[in-house]
Symmetry: C2
Amino acid sequence: MQGNGPIAILAGSGQLPIQLVEHLERMGQDRRVLAFRGFAAPELRRRADASADLLDLKTIMGTLDRWQPRAVALVGAVRRPGFSALLGAYSLLRNRQEVKEVIARGDDQVLRGAVMLLEERGYRVVGAHELAPGLVAPPTLRGKLAPGEDDARAVAVGLDLLSSLSAFDIGQAAIVAREHVLAIEGPEGTDRMLRRVMKLRQSWLGFRRRREGGVLIKAAKRGQDLRVDMPAIGPRTVAEAARAGLSGIAVGAGSTLILDQEITLALADRLGLFLTAVELPWMESGRG
Amino acid sequence: MQGNGPIAILAGSGQLPIQLVEHLERMGQDRRVLAFRGFAAPELRRRADASADLLDLKTIMGTLDRWQPRAVALVGAVRRPGFSALLGAYSLLRNRQEVKEVIARGDDQVLRGAVMLLEERGYRVVGAHELAPGLVAPPTLRGKLAPGEDDARAVAVGLDLLSSLSAFDIGQAAIVAREHVLAIEGPEGTDRMLRRVMKLRQSWLGFRRRREGGVLIKAAKRGQDLRVDMPAIGPRTVAEAARAGLSGIAVGAGSTLILDQEITLALADRLGLFLTAVELPWMESGRG
């Protein structure tokens, strides 16, 4: 089914689909957007060429078959639907037991399942990092502030922790203060994890909340397919990290998306946080 | 300083100190309770012989020196104070750099530091499980319901995960549905982690919240000193697990405390949850 048509964007929530579409427009590339109802931002929905429910595979596949895209990208967050809803939707296309095994395993497996389904139908599936390399954190990413000694230890512990968690479908991010792990990200996402740490610190002994330090470490998992659920940060991440009293953010170089890179860096400077990219020992440079 | 005096209980929050005191009273054992202000429950404070701020080491040590206890137990939860407050308090007794290294590392390290401090002064430090073995989950723990096939897979994944996290000072508990990790416990505790999963499920696509399954797995870490921060569950854990839509709870046999064991089991039965103990491959039976 692969054609010479436009680039097709299957768009979930957040700023990433919007920034990707803007990038493609600036580059003069033909694109079509299918927005997932209940997820895609209003600003994106206004620019979308079609929309569908997340589990309405018939409409999704029918739309793609019409567009004959030369590449398809799954971009933006979607929340994992309940097990039985997923099972029902995918069982239209595939053996029920097979579907059950895939979706039992975790978010990544579900998304990888979606990629497999698209590839089986002949589509080329690409990642946002391939369509817009300028959105990816370069190894030279750096704001005005540099991590201190405590921060460097926190980053080392955080990377070690995320590496240990690679075998499990969880944990693209963690918050570590010195060597003390304060939180590991689950399906709730980075912003909610940051708010959890903020609350934790507010309640400790009723002490006034102060800048207690700590680092948000965010990185792609070992063996992660960067075409699905690539880690991303943006201005909101920086603002939440500051509210949680952290001293900075470290992201995997070449494998993390930075939304509004200039604004994100400027905000980190203004709020007194460092923002840096670190080489991930388990990633080849820039590719999953 | 070890004497032939009473058993001294240094009491933080929750039901455990109360149940331990009641157990010692039933056994006719002499005991003294020092309640930590801001943590110990009102019911315990009324029975306490002394109270102190968590970081007021002078009062704590002075009280113990007066009591000449034959054993000291640190029981019940305390929230980790801020780094600088801890540093200030402990630096009265020990080299500042040494203290800094210990408290940088995590909750367990701080508690182990407290145990070391007590042992250096000649006190014998014991765990609640040694004073009241009846509070510990026996290998035969079992309610009316048994875990299903999906639950057994979830328990295996959860134990594997907790084992991987043993090197880090986090994660006595996790929630897993089939093979999908929904949450890893941080310093916020089990109840708040359960509420996180409840909220996660409520927000997924606006689907009605149903019993989606999943298991709370709670177990002592590899190499954990059971005299500090021993994992514990009770009726409230069961109620929160039910609200989060879980199908059951699995705890480490011989190394988890069950508060109000009969009530906890009866509540699990009534709310339709299984409650079971599993042998931890990394623990010798019953001892850390």
